[in-house]
Symmetry: C2
Subunit: 271 residues, 2 copies
């Protein structure tokens, strides 16, 4: 069964970004519960930004799970990249992700590597960048095992990375370097730009897909763009996808309406 | 009737960009003729990069038209923007576009403003940037009248500009500032990211649309992505669109195959 989740951002510097709920963790978790979500996905500035005791109480109070924790703040706030050409900065990036794996791990939630993957450049050829990324993902996937969670790696559209843009690229990275305990994130917004066919992209990812960002073509909540969801739902069934459809979308027209719209579409499509 | 065109890039610095044919103007024009295109769209480094006598001969020899000339090299090579905060640099941008209007005008071809529109920033608020852009488009639209051609303005996706992303944004810019002789470019790749519904976006643009970039969702030649063309063709009919469907697409899998694929799709959809 596919479960529903909604994003909560606590990162002021990411204002304007594709997160549904903002600022107030307690209010966000309670709203998610009220609307019928199964879980929340947390985008936090760092591992200590969330009062873990309070978060634990909120999850117990509501019965919600933590679906995943983002690591993008490492890039947005501190410009940390797993493919930085400086070894010391790569190490700082790895240390930051480990601290986020520790944070998520306490709630049985995997961490997501998105913008922290970086890019290849004239100073760092693509094959070398992919090798560095693969090494980092390997180490971080190993590290996550202690919490019985995978590490989630997200191919992004061409404007956000030049490393892996499609699910097939992600599979190639994982399989060619025999990386274990790393799953792929299928973000429908990125896939609308990159995949020849979105449903086929999901099938390309297959058993490697471990998280889905459920969003529309224009990054508004599902149902507000031109995404055709029926073939997507069929493809997820075909690959026996059993994890989260998580709303990483703009808070459009406002956070509450966006959360409501997404859960209604979720129930229509997946229940 | 809608006419077909294919892009030819002569800009080395734009290598890897979404242009079908490359480097050799004569070979490009002759291939376009051989494949059955009505016209070519030229992306040149500047007004003097093309031997005008040779180009005139090529058009006479083949009977092809010049559909439009791009101005993006002003940004790519010289970082010129119509919304630069420095008046002298804005003037240089306007002068460059005028020189491209003169070049295109000789072949009855309009110039296209895409990346030269720039962006709003913390130093230049959005309303001020749109005002500067509107003033520049007004002046350049007036300037183009001497050649009996419009100026073409292209809304781009969110990663390439933050000024106008949708056809509705473009209409708002043109109508709110009563800009004359400026038409909109509907690029299907950008529209796939930005429009709630691509067909509705074309209807939003309506009589203002004066040029179409005919391309697929992933910026490969039409037919290589997940674009649904039937509603697009219907919308263009509904707005009585009568200008070019021009292939601005990656040379995928190679320039000749991309040009062949596009004209086949064009004939299937528009003939």
């Amino acid at each position: 069964m596919i479960s529903s989740a909604v994003t909560i951002s606590l990162v002021e510097q990411a204002r304007g970004g594709p997160f549904v709920l903002w600022d107030d963790l307690a209010a966000g978790v309670r709203l998610a519960k009220e609307l019928g979500y199964d879980a929340v996905e947390i985008f936090a500035p760092g591992p200590d930004a969330v009062d873990r005791g309070q978060f634990k109480s909120l999850l117990e109070e509501t019965g919600l799970k933590c679906a995943a924790v983002g690591t993008g703040a490492g890039m947005v706030i501190s410009q940390l990249s797993l493919t930085d050409t400086e070894a010391a900065k790569r190490q700082a990036a790895i240390d930051f992700v480990k601290s986020m794996i520790d944070f998520g791990g306490e709630f049985s939630a995997p961490a997501i590597i998105g913008s922290m993957q970086g890019r290849w450049t004239t100073d760092l050829p693509k094959d070398k960048a992919l090798e560095l990324l693969g090494e980092a993902l390997s180490e971080l996937g190993e590290y996550a095992k202690q919490y019985n969670v995978p590490l989630i790696y997200e191919p992004l559209n061409r404007y956000e990375t030049n490393l892996c843009n499609t699910m097939a690229d992600g599979v190639q990275l994982i399989e060619s370097q025999s990386i274990s305990n790393v799953v792929l994130l299928a973000d429908l917004f990125h896939m609308n730009i990159e995949e020849t066919c979105i449903a086929q992209g999901l099938k390309d990812g297959g058993r490697h897909i471990g998280h889905v960002h459920f969003v529309d073509s224009n990054r508004r909540p599902a149902g507000n763009g031109h995404m055709k969801y029926e073939p997507i739902v069929s493809a997820l069934k075909e690959i026996n996808y059993q994890a989260y459809a998580s709303a990483e979308a703009f808070p459009w027209p406002d956070p509450t309406a966006a959360a409501k719209q997404t859960i209604e579409m979720f129930q229509k499509l997946f229940r």
